[in-house]
Symmetry: C2
Subunit: 431 residues, 2 copies
């Protein structure tokens, strides 16, 4: 009987591992099953583009079935794990249970937004991690303008025209950059809002924005944001959030109905259900070959794994898509090697570069040590994403989207609660 390989999680790590296994394992030598909660992989770096309406939300996802021809796909959530019996428990999308026996198990369950115990944050804050989040944030911005436009009291109007992002890493800066650009375009259609003006505030606890890039690029990004009228508050924390205001550590209170929380991630809660040892931040410790030491045949990669960073001894790999992709490819090779009685190789990867888009066709980037900013950096970012996006059709769709948005501008309708239709009314009337 052929080997059974189970991959839990279809994000960058799990998807690239499955793709590499399809190419590495001889045909019919193993049955590879991928468990994911959706039938697509979200291409997270393009999420701000979907939020800012330069991209069709359908084009920032990779349909897993179309790209993985030899992998069996199970849509569901990991609900448990029997390490002794070597089975993974899954709850399928229709709530029915499924037990998946495995010889090799890869855990790539990724991360979710990490909140802090700040009063009001869970009730009033919005995350920016999923496609639903991106659509919700975009609709929220438009809905605030729609409401502000119909309010007569200028003081009350102000809270609908204040937008706060907390956390100035990639996600926060890119998300704010795209959305402010989108809103600056949309507000032209709201005469009263336009007369008042909007207020955009970026809040960061550390001493500068974008810790991930060198200080010179971080300064460039900050100058670009300031030039657009965006207020940047570094060394500042969110203390409390209500329906209509955010209170910051400097004592300042910002009237706002929209606070987007992008201050960090934590491993997926499903990790806790696996019965495996976790580190202090909830991740699964692995050795340099990406193996979970305590249990043979179990591997972990990506945001849910604590992977030693070979380029910075003593540190762990950062939770980026770049690292997850490389770990996915290596772990596929190591799983195949283990099945075939060969040695597993250690993970050695040095970040090749970083790119962060800021909206308005601007970006900052470092590629192989060279720093780029402005329009050239934006072109590099776009090219990079085009090359990484699987499927020639999807690449062309992205190109079409970008060029249509360049020519015609952004779309400013709020298609609202897509996918949650009003139920058919129960009715007694005879038609």
């Amino acid at each position: 009987m052929s080997w059974r390989v189970v991959i839990a999680g279809g994000g960058f790590g799990g998807f690239y591992a499955a793709r590499a296994l399809e190419r590495t394992l001889p045909n019919q030598s193993a049955r590879v099953t991928l468990v994911n909660d959706a039938n697509f992989m979200l291409y997270t770096p393009l999420l701000p583009g979907a939020a800012g309406a330069t991209l069709d939300p359908r084009h920032v996802v990779v349909p897993l079935r179309a790209e993985l021809k030899r992998t069996e796909l199970v849509i569901g959530r990991v609900s448990g794990h029997d390490p002794a019996g070597r089975t993974l428990a899954v709850e399928r999308v229709d709530s029915s249970p499924l037990e998946l026996a495995y010889d090799q198990l890869l855990i790539a369950l990724g991360s979710v937004s990490r909140t802090l115990p700040i009063p009001g944050l869970a009730e009033h804050g919005i995350g920016l991690k999923s496609l639903a989040d991106a659509t919700a944030v975009r609709n929220q911005v438009l809905q605030c303008m729609d409401i502000a436009e119909s309010i007569d009291d200028p003081a009350r109007r102000r809270e609908y025209l204040g937008f706060v992002f907390v956390g100035a890493g990639y996600a926060g800066v890119e998300g704010l950059g795209e959305l402010q650009d989108f809103a600056a375009h949309a507000i032209e259609l709201y005469p009263r809002c336009r007369a008042d003006g909007m207020r955009w505030v970026l809040v960061e606890a550390r001493e500068r924005i974008m810790q991930e890039v060198p200080e010179s690029l971080s300064r460039f990004a900050q100058r670009e944001l300031l030039a657009r009228g965006i207020e940047v508050r570094t060394r500042t924390e969110l203390l409390a959030l209500s329906q209509s205001a955010a209170t910051l550590s400097g004592g300042e209170t910002i009237p706002t109905r929209t606070l987007v929380w992008t201050a960090g991630v934590k491993p997926s809660p499903a990790i806790a259900k696996l019965g495996l040892t976790r580190d202090s931040s909830g991740r699964l410790p692995v050795d340099r070959t990406l193996r979970v030491a305590e249990l043979p045949g179990v591997w972990a990669i990506g945001d849910c794994a604590a992977v030693p960073d070979s380029s910075r001894p003593g540190s762990l790999c950062p939770p980026t898509a770049q690292h997850a992709i490389r770990q996915g490819r290596l772990v596929a090779r190591n799983i195949a090697a283990t099945l075939q009685g060969r040695e597993a190789r250690p993970f050695t990867y040095r970040t090749k570069g970083v790119v962060a888009e800021l909206g308005r066709n601007k970006a900052v980037a470092i590629t192989f040590g060279v720093r780029w900013q402005g329009f050239p950096a934006w072109l590099i970012a776009r090219t990079y994403h085009l090359l990484l996006m699987p499927g020639i059709g999807r690449r062309l769709r992205l190109l079409v989207d970008w060029n249509v948005a360049l020519v015609f501008g952004r779309d400013t309708s709020a298609p609202g609660r897509l996918g949650t239709p009003t139920p058919l009314e129960a009715e007694q009337e005879q038609g």
Copy 2:
């Protein structure tokens, strides 16, 4: 002081009336306010295209603010009416109340799905009237395949691969045509489902499908559906619906998890809140000039109005977009005439033609008495929609969508519950 004109409803009728008023009324002579529950008009004839994934959902809506430069837009729902005080009560999107005083009031609140008191229909049926409905139906089809693919019992699998449409008017035939075409494409990615095959059933109570077109075109449409393996049950009614089966009047039971209800519409429930006389089907009776007789300065058009049909004496105008658009343009002229002390004109419109798309680049159409079918009819349908869609940018986006879909096929990912993000978790953990 300038006149106050209030339009309740921003569908085809209300939108075209507002546009015509902007062009007809001298600048600053009247303040025109449009009340709508969304900041866009849904271009309903393209809804099946959005459901079948040939069109980006964002491209089948018309952003009202972008198209109506001189109309004040209030996003909210009509909640009441004081005929004596001449004010319309609105509940805004943030639930706050608003009173709109008017000199002239146009009621264009449209229609919603009309159900019948069939056991299980309200609980398990899906409508196909809104953008949320279209996304939900599409996701439902994909989710059924995802589940079926992971089920071992062939009998249980069958209920996930059965799809039933009840009501074979335009909406039902176009919707089923597009979705079956979409599903036939998507199923190639599901090996087990493909081996089993799908079952698509169209149920119609009357003796033939598409009563709106002559019998020869209806026969063509039916032949086209049959050729694709779609089962057509005329003179058949839905008797009961459960989570996993539909029972038809012939005694037949069809295993299905997906029943789309497209058997008719009824006036928007908000009509009942206006304190005006309604006819037996809940519509507002108007005279030939579109005036609500009982109250001066109040007009009604579109699906919520009972408008005498000049081309068929004794009958009422059918609830189609074509009629709503013409009524919108005429009522704008009549409102302007009334304000300016001129005579209102009667509504005289003879249907110029009908088009119905069937998916797979096929359609049936009648234009000025000439009948078309197949690919030529499909080209006519596309051209017609392009000409009617307001905004050159939106027309080009539609063309791009259609051509991309022609070249690359349809998109088969299910972006799921867009716009309903998981709330940020309340959390005690210190980051």
